[in-house]
């Protein structure tokens, strides 16, 4: 007699719940929260003493949101890179797949669960990093909305990439490569293209290097704190599609690889 099949939605909610519980038990999350609280305390002290100029207020706002962006991505990466390797190592994957749950659905659910956890952390940190900072200059609400939406896309992208790379790379290598790429990827690409002297080669290099995911494109923190208006709708949706395409491809590759992989 075979076990009753688990619906896609049910498996997604079950795995998401598991990842949420893991997040709540993770020490890294509390460490990042302490760092954020240090920022909030510093912010409140600066407010009490008095902020010298509007540009300093903008600087603090930029710092606050940048910390939120950095911490949420760090936590999502720390959560996602170890999901499948740890379950394989502890053999806890067998009861899950025996439900029965397809391997593809398992990988998909893990990726979505990590991204949702990252988004939850982002929202909590955002309240801490944005709310207490005095807004001394003018900022566009529409840019703020776009920034948050693209950050969510970026969290989904890092989660999908971390899950995909965990199937090919050793854990430490995966973590280091993705962390370095997340922090400096865009700059490295600009630097590499800048070193190519021939215009034709530079065009080819730009095209080839554009296959590497660029998190900087999805980060509008400086645009928001610069007081620049919202992106045109075409560019904004283009960026969302970009995040979606990269994430979907990483996810599709990991599903395919995991289906064929002997466990």
């Amino acid at each position: 007699m075979s076990a009753p099949s688990v619906s896609s939605w049910r498996s997604l909610t079950l795995i998401t719940r598991g990842v949420f519980i893991e997040l709540a038990r993770k020490k890294d999350a509390y460490v990042l929260m302490i760092f954020m609280m240090i920022f909030v305390a510093g912010m409140l002290a600066a407010k009490a003493v008095g902020i010298d100029s509007p540009s300093t207020g903008t600087f603090l706002l930029n710092l606050g949101i940048s910390l939120v962006y950095l911490f949420a991505h760090t936590l999502t990466l720390l959560l996602a890179f170890n999901q499948i390797p740890r379950e394989l190592e502890h053999r806890s994957i067998y009861p899950l797949l025996a439900r029965p749950l397809s391997r593809s659905m398992y990988v998909f659910s893990k990726c979505v669960a990590c991204a949702l956890c990252g988004m939850l952390v982002y929202v909590i940190l955002f309240v801490l990093g944005w709310l207490p900072v005095p807004k001394l200059e003018s900022y566009h609400a529409s840019t703020l909305f776009q920034m948050i939406a693209l950050h969510f896309g970026s969290l989904f992208m890092i989660s999908a990439l971390a899950v995909a790379c965990s199937l090919f790379l050793a854990r430490g290598v995966n973590l280091v490569i993705l962390a370095v790429w997340f922090l400096f990827g865009g700059k490295l690409v600009t630097f590499m293209v800048g070193r190519v002297s021939s215009p034709v080669l530079a065009q080819g290099a730009s095209w080839f290097l554009a296959y590497l995911p660029d998190f900087q494109k999805l980060n509008l923190v400086t645009r928001y704190t610069d007081g620049i208006g919202a992106l045109p709708a075409g560019v904004f949706f283009g960026l969302l599609v970009y995040a979606l395409v990269i994430s979907a491809f990483a996810l599709a590759v990991s599903m395919r690889v995991f289906e064929r992989r002997p466990i």
Binding site: T56, S206, K217, R223, T225, G238
Partner: protein, 336 residues
């Protein structure tokens, strides 16, 4: 969920993703507080900026501090640029004076700071102001430090050039880095300066300040060819004509971006006083070079058009008057 059915369409989309990625640049906007020299000056001078030390809002902030430190032989001073140098044109003229005229291409000289800058506070305080006692003494011994009464010598700028390169690689829309970097570069290698500013134009085609910097390079090249600018050689005239055309592009772009009403007492949010200074500089150069090397009709047309934006400008009024009376200007001789 079928992995294969999912993989083929996503792979196809992924193969096309560079087409999308290369067309999307959310950071390619003009201006912005993070790139604004006056805002940067305020941030770096604020108490919070001092507390954070070298941790700043952006990589370009950090690199900006690096260029200052390199110019002062490693001694860390509190930021001490004045408002005059916030405009690119102001920076260029001020830097020439600030460096004591170190402008010869092969000069390795280190000149002493002008007296006006003596007394600028160092980041590491003097013994009299330092509560740390022995630790402070140790800090002053192990780090490059000089008594503020003796402001450090200025290097000739060669050391800062790599930082401008890194600044523009890190942020290809950092216009000031292109303009000021080209100014430094032209003192060492004029061809490299042209290449650098052309890259700036490619990355920032709407920036009038980068075009103005290119005009300045053509003008410098003409000066290098003919030291006596009152009798320029044909090659120098060629460069002056190029400078004229580029300054006109810069002036037109600036006028296009300039708000309709500019009140010097209350500057609009997106248009600072130093952008206004750079616009004036571009407009004046465009008209003066047209007067000397172009046609009277075009000079009249340009001066009349620009006077609508800068009514009462002595340079424009004088150019218009001379063009009407067909008198050659006081500066350069009329081109053949």
């Amino acid at each position: 969920m079928r992995a294969n059915a999912f993989l083929i369409p996503t792979a196809a989309l992924f193969l096309l993703s560079p087409w999308l990625s290369l067309r999307l640049d959310p950071h390619g906007y003009q201006g912005g507080r993070s790139r604004d020299a006056e805002d940067r000056m305020e941030r770096n001078a604020s108490s919070i900026g001092s507390m954070l030390g070298e941790l700043r809002t952006s990589m370009s902030d950090i690199l900006f501090l690096k260029t200052e430190r390199y110019l002062h032989g490693g001694v860390a001073y509190t930021p001490h640029i004045n408002k005059k140098v916030l405009s690119v044109s102001g920076t260029q003229s001020e830097m020439f004076a600030h460096q004591g005229g170190v402008d010869a291409p092969d000069s390795e000289a280190v000149v002493m700071e002008s007296d006006s800058e003596k007394g600028t506070e160092t980041i590491i305080p003097t013994a009299a102001d330092d509560f740390r006692g022995f630790i402070g003494q140790l800090h002053r011994e192990v780090k490059p430090w000089l008594d503020p009464s003796r402001h450090a010598g200025h290097a000739d700028g060669k050391e800062v050039l790599p930082w401008f390169r890194v600044m523009t690689l890190s942020d290809p829309h950092y216009i000031r880095a292109y303009s000021v970097g080209a100014w430094w570069l032209k003192t060492k290698n004029l061809d490299a300066a042209f290449e650098f500013i052309q890259e700036g134009i490619k990355n920032n085609p709407a920036s009038f300040q980068v075009y103005a910097a290119l005009g300045d390079l053509h003008y410098t090249k003409a000066m290098n060819i003919s030291r006596n600018i009152f009798a320029p050689a044909p090659e120098a005239i060629e460069q002056l004509l190029l400078a004229r055309d580029v300054f006109q592009v810069a002036a037109d772009l600036a006028i296009e971006q300039r708000p309709a009403v500019v009140d010097p007492e209350n500057m609009p949010d997106r248009w600072s006083s130093y952008m206004e200074d750079d616009t004036r500089a571009a407009v004046n150069m465009a008209v003066l070079l047209e007067r000397e090397f172009g046609t009277e009709a075009k000079t009249r047309e340009l001066a009349t058009r620009y006077l609508r934006y800068f009514p009462g400008s002595p340079t424009l009024l004088s150019a218009l008057k001379q063009a009407r009376s067909s008198q050659p200007g006081p500066g350069l001789p009329r081109a053949p």
